[in-house]
């Protein structure tokens, strides 16, 4: 059991720097030897509104955020009524006395209200009221008994590029806040003492984990159009492009994005297209182009609720069946759905190996929750040593030199994979065509060749199926209820399963899909045949995984927990809906 488990939430308006403060706090928590799980909640606007950032802190690894809040830092009036119902008994609300807060708002419950002249002191110490965020984090550290020096080290790093004056101002603000918190700590029951003996750990969001994996896996080209929450992969690649030799092109639209990636991949460069569902919608014809030309590209879709603009900054797993069926015609594709930061990293490099080995498009289904949630990871959680670069049937210069017959780019083979050349060798001059073509690439409408080429492409599915991770079970075999989920629902569901089993040992287990296509039919049948009661848990309105399982196996779950209010699951939400 965790000795430390509490959530600190900072609430304000867009433009207040809530997200960077929250992410900075996660880093400080990590440097202090604890585990953080940080989650921003923000509106699709640049100024105003109500944004908040939650940092859950524990001495044990965290895989999910949770509902209860132990400490609320209110930078706007609106923050208090919005979150008071989430406060635990004995929790504290720290607010800026510069706010016009209705006195009635500061009464009742078993909550402590701590008013501090945050803006005024921030202005005095740092020359800007923006430093009240930092000051507030100092109060949080003081109240919970956390280590000020960890917070100070992050301030030094994060503000360094703004100059020593800004660093000093923020240090003064955080120091003042810390003292205010410490003076009041005796009456505050929740503690997050730093662990100076902990090994060094990492802290990152799912975007960074995936991007690092992709870079390690040889991604050298990224083209796309900004769309929340997919664009952070484009940003990450752009920030690292110069140093690591990655060309990043912000394109005129997503259609250009996918087609540029196909052009780069055709020339032998590992290419990715980061996007969200709306952008992927524009890429659909390009996906088919990659399919028929057998061009290895990776498409990363960080889902958000649709259709159309939907809820741009919120959560949903609504694109699975769309991505599975996108584009006219039939061709093989991979559909991968990492559920954790560790899986995102592995998917990042493995997607390129799968794309080149099978010469197919690889679709990676992330979502807003996975993309933006910040987690502390142990050093071993990202295994760079395990990274391999496998390029499949890629002809070497020597093999091309030795080629005696005319090169056949689309040669019929038992595996369906044809030896692939990169343009530039005199022995391998060919045309890749979006029309159906013969083995050399020439356009054909002959019946036999059409069938042969379709069969060739579809034969790849056999090899591809063997690459698919079977759904992973967590929890005891023979449990009363087996919960089924995919992608980022892993974290909240795993914690729900743990909590259910803590109450009633052996009653719950879960089955998590991190890869959806080719669908793991046999593993699914084996797992579900043994299950007693099966409950499908998804962040969408129609239960897309359940539909896929039914299509592929005929199996129908007994019950469903579906959430589609734009928010990700929490363990509490799942448990509350699991009773039936």
């Amino acid at each position: 059991m965790a000795k430390t488990d509490l959530t600190i939430r900072i609430g304000g308006a867009a433009g207040d720097g809530i997200e960077s403060s929250g992410a900075g706090f996660c880093r400080a928590i990590t440097r202090g030897g604890l585990y953080a799980f940080g989650l921003p909640d923000y509106y699709s606007r640049i100024r105003g509104g109500h944004n908040f950032y939650s940092v859950r802190i524990s001495d044990q690894p965290l895989r999910s955020h949770t509902d209860p809040v132990h400490l609320l830092l209110a930078l706007t009036e609106e923050t208090i009524p919005r979150h008071r119902d989430s406060m635990v008994e004995g929790g504290a609300i720290v607010y800026d006395t510069a706010l016009k807060i209705d006195a009635d708002a500061l009464t009742g419950d078993a909550i402590r209200y701590i008013g501090l002249a945050m803006s005024e002191v921030a202005e005095e110490k740092a020359g800007t009221s923006l430093a009240r965020n930092t000051l507030g984090l100092g109060v949080a550290a003081g109240l919970t008994g956390f280590d000020l020096s960890a917070l100070e080290s992050v301030i030094r790093d994060n503000f360094a590029r703004k100059g020593q004056k800004v660093v000093d101002g923020n240090l003064a603000a955080v120091g003042w806040g810390y003292e205010q918190g410490r003076e009041r700590a005796n009456d505050y029951p929740y503690r997050a003492p730093a662990n100076p003996n902990a090994p060094a750990r990492m802290v990152m969001d799912g975007t960074e984990a995936f991007s690092m994996g992709a870079l390690a896996g040889g991604c050298r080209f990224a083209s796309g159009y900004p769309m929340t929450p997919g664009s952070p992969v484009l940003h990450w690649m752009a920030a690292h492009g110069h140093e690591y030799g990655v060309v990043v092109k912000h394109t005129e639209d997503e259609i250009a994005g996918i087609n540029m990636a196909i052009g780069a991949a055709h020339m032998g460069v590992r290419a990715i297209v980061p996007t969200s569902g709306g952008g992927f919608s524009l890429m659909v014809e390009g996906l088919g182009l990659a399919g028929i030309t057998e061009t290895p590209v990776v498409i990363y879709n960080a889902q958000r609720p649709g259709p159309a603009t939907g809820l741009p900054t919120r959560d949903e797993q609504g694109d699975m069946l769309f991505m599975l069926h996108a584009s006219q015609g039939e061709f093989p594709r991979f559909l991968l759905a990492p559920g954790t930061h560790q899986q995102a990293f592995v998917t990042g490099w493995r997607a390129f190996n799968l794309a080149e080995t099978y010469q197919v498009p690889v679709l990676v289904l992330s979502d807003h929750y996975l993309a933006v949630a910040v987690r502390t990871l142990d050093a071993g959680d990202l295994d760079f040593d395990a990274v391999t670069i496998e390029r499949g049937a890629l002809l070497s210069e020597g093999e091309l030199d030795a080629l005696e017959e005319p090169y056949r780019r689309f040669q019929i083979t038992p595996s369906g994979v044809s030896p692939r050349a990169i343009p530039g060798h005199p022995n391998a001059v060919w045309v890749s065509s979006s029309n159906e073509h013969d083995e050399r690439g020439a356009i054909t409408e002959e019946k036999a060749m059409r069938v042969a080429q379709v069969d060739k492409r579809m034969h790849k599915m056999e090899g591809m199926a063997a690459e698919i991770a079977p759904p992973a079970r967590y929890g005891p075999e023979g449990a009363e209820t087996t919960y089924v989920c995919w992608g980022s629902t892993y974290g909240p569901l795993r914690e729900a399963v743990d909590r259910i089993n803590a109450e009633q040992p052996g009653s719950a287990s879960m089955l998590h899909y991190s890869a959806l296509w080719p669908f793991p039919v046999e593993a699914t049948e084996a797992a579900l045949k043994k299950a007693r009661r099966v409950v499908d848990v998804e962040v969408n309105a129609t239960g897309q995984l359940a539909r896929l399982i039914r299509t592929e196996t005929g199996f129908v779950p007994d019950d469903q927990i579906l959430r589609y209010d734009g928010r990700p699951f929490t363990p509490e939400y799942i448990i509350a809906h699991a009773a039936g």
Binding site: A261, G263, H266, V429
Partner: protein, 289 residues
């Protein structure tokens, strides 16, 4: 030495007798031969349309992609290997209709490729609908009472968008066409070659007779192709007299690929694809600690 026979393909064109595409095919072969560019040293990216089948009809590396999208494919290929010659070849429906935004953006990027547009001012492969460059009033299956839209002015648009080489060619003047194409291939940056392509099946009103009476060669006039204002006027000249040749050219502008920091060490594609070094892994880990 490269010879014209090096480009021979076993495929027989599906074009109508008298189609302007034969002249375009010949001009491409002749220009490549003149510049000693072998079939394996160039990638021709095409869209969809009669003319986009061109790479099948000569021996050359080709990528015959989607309607309207050859420029992004060509751009991606060029960014992946800027040591490699890249051409886009597509029709007016492809380049000035569906691909109009890619055209405008390719021009302003000054990406190093030749963009050859087979501008027959009609849709051929889908059988005779009016195109983005058709004459207003043209009666076609999708405009039975006459097209209403004004035609896209490709040369003026290219100049406006910052293109560094803008030319027009005519297959009825093959030697001249080849010389224009050679100059385009020699140009460092984005080069538009808009080709007045007669379509003898679906646009007889704008076929050889129409152009033969009107075209004149800019290099036989005192046109100064480095003068943007003069180029602008020539770009819009139509109806009575139609200029062919290099309308606008500015040299010495940096190409897109020359300005990409990640490409300072040379083209991407030939670099060995290796795992990250221990130092690189340590640096990435340090970023997130």
């Amino acid at each position: 030495m490269v010879s014209r026979a090096d480009f021979d393909s076993p495929e027989r064109p599906t074009w109508c007798t008298g189609c302007g595409n034969y002249g375009i095919l010949n001009a491409v072969k002749m220009a490549l031969t003149e510049l000693d560019i072998a079939p394996h040293e160039i990638l021709i990216c095409t869209g969809i349309g009669c003319g986009s089948k061109l790479p099948h009809y000569l021996k050359v590396n080709g990528f015959h992609g989607l309607h309207g999208r050859p420029l992004p494919v060509a751009t991606g290929a060029r960014l992946a290997n800027h040591g490699f010659r890249v051409m886009a070849v597509h029709g007016d429906g492809d380049g000035y209709g569906m691909g109009l935004s890619h055209f405008a953006h390719a021009a302003r990027r000054n990406i190093g490729l030749v963009d050859l547009v087979q501008n027959n001012r009609v849709y051929g492969l889908t059988k005779g609908q009016y195109s983005p460059t058709s004459t207003p009033g043209m009666r076609t299956p999708t405009s039975p009472e006459g097209a209403i839209d004004l035609p896209v002015p490709p040369l003026a648009l290219a100049i406006t968008m910052g293109a560094t080489f803008v030319a027009r060619a005519y297959p009825g003047e093959l030697r001249h066409f080849v010389s224009v194409l050679v100059q385009a291939l020699q140009h460092d940056g984005y080069a538009l070659v808009d080709v007045l392509q007669p379509c003898v099946t679906f646009n007889r009103a704008s076929a050889y007779d129409f152009y033969n009476e009107r075209v004149y060669k800019l290099d036989e006039t005192d046109h100064d192709a480095s003068d943007r204002t003069a180029a602008w006027e020539k770009a819009l000249e139509w109806d009575e007299r139609i200029p062919i040749g290099v309308v606008y050219r500015v040299e010495g502008q940096p190409t897109y690929e020359q300005q990409v920091p990640a490409l300072q060490d040379g083209p991407l594609a030939p670099r060995p694809l290796t795992r990250l070094s221990a130092d690189q892994v340590a640096a990435l880990r340090a970023e997130v600690m």
